[in-house]
Symmetry: C2
Subunit: 277 residues, 2 copies
């Protein structure tokens, strides 16, 4: 098959490399930064440069650019896309993207499926892309409907052929609700954590917990700001919930209420054990 | 030398095993749970059971029990301890312990140094203790004064012989101020994080950031509650500071203020880069 990869950053670049390493498909790649596109062609990450003249030859089109740019790309190229093609995006929010892209696909007769690979790094760009980024990871898919089970099975097989170990099918709104907690809140908290005046003098005073809590503090502010704004309702719920939880510990400590503090800590510990063990 | 290890949990058990693996010293060990003491003797983690009759033979006494129990132990055994002995505790707060233990040591003529090994696990107990827990870790020491540099050099050499890569010497209050941020706040946040209603349904929707943020949510509530209460001023500062920081992101998102949100995110990202790279 011919696979288009639009956007050759960490996510798209790793998709290209995973396709090249794990399958015999041809990759038609494109990045808005022309030197990245050229570099990817030179280092074998892509086979051809994707353009208006060859996009109709692509069986899958994987889009890995920011949410608004995803919609803009699909609107602009919709008429050129093959009716049998499946377009999957990789954006970190799904309702904002899928609401628009389901419509565009319907009008133009091809299939659009929302996607979100559960893998990443706290570094961005093609230079950090690797063929094994998705090995063992989960891929979330948000199809427009579940009528075409045969197609979903084919897409699942294709996704797994890139190294993903599992595919999670859900709705765009369910995705956005859960991802606000698992990913977006984690980035907000980590980014806020390092703002303590003590952060600059932690050396020699830290072990794994500091390292884990602050790993994703380093982030691409433009991408994350767009993702947060496109999912504000769910993310605000999570930030509020966490602030309220933190305030409970704070109050117990202020009041020298060791029993309440122990209960709060045991509750959190029990929840973690019940969820992840 | 003869080294006493008081408390054979994760921290004390790992100290015992590290001494046995890395040095030729004899370990006199004791745990309040008699079956743990017996087990440690059987599996070679300790050489002898520490008791009132042999504590005077010990050159170092390493105490790894909760803060209040540390003070109680030292008060009770002070008259039995050799005047040339060095006692080091491993408690996660230092002012509360050192204020009392410096006095006890002075009255009884031996040396007490506050200690805090920067290593741990989200599991506790002798069964998780390993000889390599401290390999490459930092050990914080809070001596009563810096007059006896020769002794501090000897202690540093002893500590490093167990696998620690570095020793950080500071005051009890400086320790408590920084550790509230690097360790205690991390445990509060991680424990609070999993209380979101979304935590129970995250499977298939999470990658590294969720895992990192919630790793230390699993904790020993009795130990941590005691540590938090003994360091309440510093910990409350950190919780407040984080709540205030989180509120800034929240407000920017609520107000659709993408520019402020980007500035907040860039500031956190830049801080992380400047601190840890």
């Amino acid at each position: 098959m011919n696979i288009a990869v639009v956007g050759l950053g960490l996510i798209g670049g790793s998709l290209s490399k995973a396709i090249k390493q794990n399958t015999k498909h041809s990759v038609f790649g494109f990045d808005i930064n022309e030197s990245i596109t050229m570099y990817a062609k030179m280092d074998g990450g892509i086979d051809q440069v994707l353009c208006d003249n060859n996009i109709s030859q692509c069986d899958y089109i994987l889009i890995s650019v920011y949410p608004k740019a995803t919609i803009e790309f699909l609107e602009e190229k919709a008429s050129l896309i093959n009716k049998n093609a499946v377009v999957i995006d990789c954006g970190g929010v799904k309702s904002a993207i899928c609401d628009k892209c389901f419509d565009i696909a319907k009008k133009n007769g091809f299939t659009f499926i929302g996607g979100h690979p559960m893998a990443g790094l706290h570094f961005s760009g093609y230079k950090y892309a690797t063929a094994d980024l998705y090995n063992g990871a989960s891929m979330i898919l948000t199809p427009n409907n579940t009528d075409n089970i045969k197609l979903l099975e084919e897409v699942t097989a294709f996704i797994k052929s890139l190294g993903f170990s599992s595919v999670t099918v859900t709705t765009p709104s369910e995705h956005d609700r859960i991802i606000a907690f698992t990913s977006q809140l984690a980035h907000v908290v980590s980014n806020a954590y390092v703002k303590s005046p003590q952060a600059s003098v932690h050396k020699g005073f830290s072990a794994g917990s500091y390292k884990d809590l602050t790993r994703v503090a380093r982030l691409n502010e433009n991408m994350w700001a767009e993702l947060f704004m496109e999912n504000k309702e769910h993310l605000l719920f999570e930030i509020d919930h966490l602030i309220n939880s933190l305030s409970e510990y704070k109050e117990a400590i202020e009041n020298d209420d060791a029993d309440t503090l122990k209960t709060l800590l045991k509750d959190g510990s029990d929840r973690k054990k019940s969820i992840d063990y």
